[in-house]
């Protein structure tokens, strides 16, 4: 009973913990299908590239407007989308490999972000921007997170079928429908939107962990797409819950705490997962 109370108590007693929890849970639910589809599209790295890309935009927003949610969001959104777009454009025009093109974008974005923050003065803690703080989730941020999560869940439900076919068999989809590019574009926009809204609470770099780790871990639990998404959402929610508790009781930064719990979930899935997990006998040779 005493132990159970520890699991709930901080969220009852403190408004900032409650806000961080609600924000984190809805974010975990809306990033789950995004992460799963990113992996299926072999675009796992794009989350990282976009998260780095957000930095200079958010830093510029901060420079001009201070610590305001709309400024940080618009700056982050613009920069994230243009970094992802620039990388895709270079790949298409020059034939540079997609991963190399993304890897080139990371350091440029990160360095630009750090440089702009340096020029802007020391008022915004760089560590806060990179790794987040649960304390940062105020009423406005939480409302933003609820809107973004609600919007992306509805949008994902609407584009689920064309996105699935566009991922599995784009040639087939192209012959029966023109929805492929629309679904693809909307999907990437949702990825950027979720990363941008998540970066204040969990940090620009850490929110990618919340998006990708549960999605990668879920692959060890099922072979069916809807189940993968559900498992991913549950793992994400558990990571947020226990990560925030760890952060509360041991005074840890919230972003890394959440991502490390998700990382623990991933390692446990690798070992114990029923689909190709390490303890699964006999070992299967196919891999994803």
């Amino acid at each position: 009973m005493h132990f159970a109370a520890h699991l709930w108590m901080p969220f009852f007693d403190f408004v900032f913990m409650r806000r961080a929890l609600i924000g984190g849970l809805v974010l975990a639910c809306s990033t789950a299908p995004l992460g799963v589809f990113l992996i299926l599209r072999r675009m796992s790295l794009i989350g990282d590239a976009v998260a780095h890309g957000i930095l200079p935009g958010a830093a510029l927003g901060f420079w001009f407007a201070g610590l305001s949610l709309p400024a940080l969001t618009i700056g982050g959104l613009g920069a994230g989308l243009s970094m992802a777009g620039l990388s895709a454009w270079i790949t298409r025009r020059t034939g540079l490999r997609e991963d190399a093109s993304l890897a080139a974008i990371y350091p440029i974005s990160l360095a630009a972000g750090v440089l702009i923050l340096g020029l802007a003065g020391k008022r915004l803690d760089l560590l806060h921007l990179l790794f987040g703080s649960a304390l940062a989730v105020d009423e406005t941020t939480l409302t933003g997170m609820l809107w973004v999560s609600g919007f992306s869940l509805i949008a994902m439900a609407l584009i689920y079928k064309p996105l699935l076919l566009d991922t599995l068999d784009p040639l087939f989809l192209q012959t029966v429908s023109r929805l492929g590019p629309i679904a693809h574009g909307l999907f990437l926009t949702l990825v950027v939107l979720n990363l941008v809204i998540g970066f204040q609470a969990i940090g620009a770099l850490m929110v990618v962990g919340l998006m990708m780790l549960p999605a990668i871990a879920s692959r060890f639990w099922s072979r069916r797409l809807p189940v993968l998404i559900a498992v991913s959402a549950v793992l994400g929610c558990l990571s947020v819950w226990f990560g925030l508790l760890l952060s509360f009781y041991y005074s840890l930064p919230s972003g890394p705490a959440i991502v490390l719990v998700a990382g623990g979930g991933y390692l446990l899935s690798v070992i114990f997962g029923p689909v190709h997990g390490l303890l699964r006998r006999p070992p299967l040779l196919t891999s994803q």
Partner: protein
């Protein structure tokens, strides 16, 4: 009717062949043959509108919705993709207005047609190459398009599977659909199709299959 006017295709700057002029009548069954790398699959993609021609024009007279169905080569499918055979086949229903019971009935019939009954819930990664190929063909059956473009429908099929495949192609042909088949098996193309387009680096030849392809003493790969 499918018309190609001075059509050139291939990678930019490297057209694969001299220009192709071709008219295929509605309801015809045509084979495309040629050595590796001559651009058979690319030509099929250009006709399907999946790839832009380098020069010239191609026009396919079909309704905009559900007018054309394309059977891709199975290598480009991710075999690890977490869906079942039934879900893959049911994608053929895209754009149809059937009720769920009608869909289910039609789906079961098509699965039976392609000897896939009992495999409905098997994940993609657990299918053999032949089973996956029959699933892709079954999806094409559901699409019921008037123009069918098949890229290597034989691939991965055993003798029975190939016979089943040609049986369905003839059934589609009898229904008045226009069909183009890219195939390496010259004996089959000679036996089953009326006309054939032979793609060579020197130019394309169009004519009756029985005249363009000599009788094959053995199974020969082009």
């Amino acid at each position: 009717m499918i018309t190609c006017n001075a059509l050139r295709w291939g990678a930019p700057g490297q057209p694969l062949t001299p220009a192709l002029d071709l008219t295929l009548e509605k309801g015809s069954l045509t084979g495309i043959i040629g050595a590796n790398g001559t651009g058979k699959s690319s030509l099929l993609k250009v006709i399907a509108g999946l790839q832009k021609p380098l020069a010239g024009k191609v026009s396919v007279e079909v309704p905009r919705r559900r007018g054309l169905s394309f059977l891709p080569q199975q290598q480009h499918l991710d075999r690890q993709f977490p869906i079942s055979l039934q879900e893959l086949v049911a994608a053929g229903f895209w754009g149809t207005q059937l009720t769920p019971p009608q869909r289910n009935e039609r789906l079961q019939a098509v699965l039976e047609d392609w000897c896939l009954s009992g495999l409905e819930h098997r994940p993609l990664m657990a299918l053999s190459g032949g089973e996956l190929q029959r699933a892709l063909l079954a999806r094409m059956s559901l699409a019921e398009a008037p123009v069918l473009l098949l890229d290597e429908p034989h691939a991965a099929l055993d003798e029975d599977g190939q016979a089943l495949c040609w049986k369905h192609i003839h059934a589609w042909h009898d229904q008045g659909r226009t069909i183009i088949v890219v195939c390496h098996d010259l004996a089959s193309v000679r036996h089953h199709t009326q006309h054939v387009v032979q793609i060579k680096s020197t130019g394309c030849v169009f004519g009756p299959s029985k005249e363009l392809i000599r009788p094959q003493p053995h199974m020969q790969v082009a």
